[in-house]
Amino acid sequence: MAFFFISLSNNDLKIRLMQKILLGNEAIAQGAIDAGLSGAYGYPGTPSTEIIEYIFKSKEAKQRNVKAHWATNEKVAMEEALGMSYAGKRAIVTMKHVGLNVAADAFINMAISGINGGLVVVVADDPSQHSSQNEQDSRFYGKFAMLPIFEPSNQQEAYDMMTDAFALSEKMQLPVLFRSVTRLSHSRANVTTSEKVAQNNLQILSDTKRFALIPSFAKKQYRNLIDKQKALADLAESSKWNRYHEGTNTSLGIIASGIAINYLYENFDGKVPFDVLKVSHYPLPKEKVRKMFDRVDKILVLEDGYPFIEEMISDYLGREQKVTGRLTGAIPRTGELNPNIVAVALGLEEHIAEEMPAIVAGRPPQLCPGCGHIDLYEELNELIPEIGEKRVFSDIGCYSLGVLEPYNSIDTLIDMGASIPMAKGAADAGLQPAIAVIGDSTFTHSGMTGLLSAVWDNSPVTVIISDNSAVAMTGAQPSAAMGRLYDIAKGLGVDENHIKIIIPLKKYHDKNVEIIRDEVNYQGVSLIIAQRPCVTMSNEKKDLARKFNTFEPSY
């Protein structure tokens, strides 16, 4: 991050604006801090991680006593943020798109209860699945919860919109969904910051019934939410973030949401001859869409993610075909947009480009040299011939790379924490022995309840926690599991004779294979903690991890 001061000639502007180069995620974080933030909660996940990291490092956040916290999972983070809002203060909660699935219960129901202090839910979607299982579009969640959605088109908007998002949240007493995408979250640009908003004071509500969703109260609150929809639509209709530009050529109109507008401007160097509706604030502004329908012959919808707007405004039976986009094939159905895809959709000639030579080999990500997961997989692979193929259920993290060559050690990864319940279910079906491989942070995120379920039913599964004392893949954030795994396993009821600690190092290879073999053969829940700090961590962090890992290995 770099910054310098711009001295303004305009004397009306009393504040001295500061320009910085900020990553989209940093612009979101700085915007929140300057909008009077008191608390930031989240769980690391690409492409959202840098928002909370920035607040942790921000001197301004420290001066203002802003609480920043990595929660154990996204649902917990959202509920912590709701608690801060309940107490009257402004909070954000951040996550990647699939994290919103985890937090969905809280998300949908806090739309029913409403909020007190401003609450902004920042979700970073990942079109093109750069680091994700899917490219789900969080705008559907916003609509589902009947909440307003902000979708900034660039880093400056990401910064500026945060103040509006908090104001709207408090005005309507509802959470606001703030949607980013990888190409905004992970791109830097010049951002001019503005004056800070004061933080809210602690405010104890005199009537808290709306936060107690027993059916009799909840029905009233649900009705309230429905009744607010008209006001939400009116606010979006007049929002400065939604702009209609009348073109000189009405053969085409373009609706562009979020960052898609940039690819449109890129192709016309900012001067688009057609009608353009820029959408960055939902509900979709109906009057502006109607105006476009009235003025132009054909509409092209540009949106990064699912065909959310396109589906809403398309003729369901496809008789008119006035609206084009991802559903009609004008834009590819999957993957993120780019300037070239948009050029083709606009019928503009694409530049003749060089091709990638055939000799260029793929270079997929891989486990770091010296990584403890490698040793664990080598131990596991030695046992597979005797245990049987296709029965290692795994999870989300660096160790997911074990599904690739040269390891081929794990067979599944679906969502955070799926490994243990899937192993149990497969064992129930007769696939025995069944093994789960899960990381330490994923285990405390969503693995513990699955383990308890297996213990409760005394299922013959072996759980291996590949414990590197970090949330490694997102940049080695601290793991809530550090120093707690043994006690958690014991507390959840795993027989202490079958909780083993191994150190995944070459010199212990044979011993480790033996321990894993014994536990796999045990007809109940066994749990092995393979413990070695992440190689990417600083020596300081590794030493801290070793200080917490006080249990002796089982040799």
Binding site: A2, F3, F4, Q19, K20, I21, T46, P47, T49, E50, H130, S131, R183, L184, H186, S187, R188, A189, N190, I259, N262, Y263, Y265, E266, G270, N338, P339, N340, A343, E350, H351, I352, A353, E354, E355, M356, P357, I359, V360, A361, G362, R363, P364, P365, Q366, L367, C368, C398, L401, M473, T474, G475
Partner: protein, 195 residues
């Protein structure tokens, strides 16, 4: 003025440091900049890229359109070729010649160099060797900044100031080593020491 630059390499080779230098130089020159980068899983030894767009006019797309890159700068020769579709017909290909072989099917180095040599505007530099000469092979990325410095819309003094600021925390010796690396990269181009 507009410069579209793709920076390529393998996770861990210092791509983001090069990007940060260009960002800061652009900001201090009063230019607009957009710079898209890769975080997350690909950073683990995978192919990574950064798009740097600098202009005195508004920059719209965070991504460089295909066929528009003025420079493709790579700290690894095969990675340079991966982004050829982005090259403008008048654009420059600039790369470190030292391969990073963390995959089994890495192509014949001679074939890689032959592909690069097909283009008139190419610069192949032994950045690793020059960085070693400056004091540490890890400074190869800074050698590469020197090797494109004449193509950038910045004064040399500004680039050096930005590099010095960036490494200030690590002490005077590291700052000097990186400034030397920059000079060696620049000199290699001037003296046509390209391989």
């Amino acid at each position: 003025m507009k410069k579209d630059i793709i920076i390529a390499g393998v996770g861990g080779q210092g791509i983001l440091t090069i990007s940060a230098i260009l960002d800061m130089a652009a900001l201090q020159s009063g230019y607009n900049v957009k710079q898209s980068e890769v975080h997350g899983m690909s950073q683990r030894g995978g192919a990574v890229q950064s798009h740097v767009r600098i202009s005195d006019r508004p920059v719209y797309s965070d991504l460089v359109p295909k066929g528009k890159a003025d420079i493709i700068l790579s700290v690894e020769p095969m990675e340079l070729l991966r982004y050829l579709p982005y090259l403008h017909p008048e654009g420059y290909l600039v790369t470190d010649i030292n391969p990073f072989k963390n995959i089994a099917n890495y192509p014949d180095e001679k074939l890689v160099q032959a592909e690069i040599a097909k283009f008139n505007h190419h610069r192949m530099i032994d950045a690793r060797g020059l960085a070693k000469k400056a004091g540490n092979f890890r400074a190869a990325n800074i050698v590469m900044v020197g090797a494109i410095s004449d193509l950038l819309p910045f004064e040399e003094g500004l680039l050096k100031k930005v590099i010095a600021d960036l490494f200030k925390r690590k002490g005077e010796r590291i700052v000097q080593m990186n400034l030397d690396a920059f000079d060696l990269g620049k000199k290699a181009v001037i003296e046509n020491m390209t391989v």
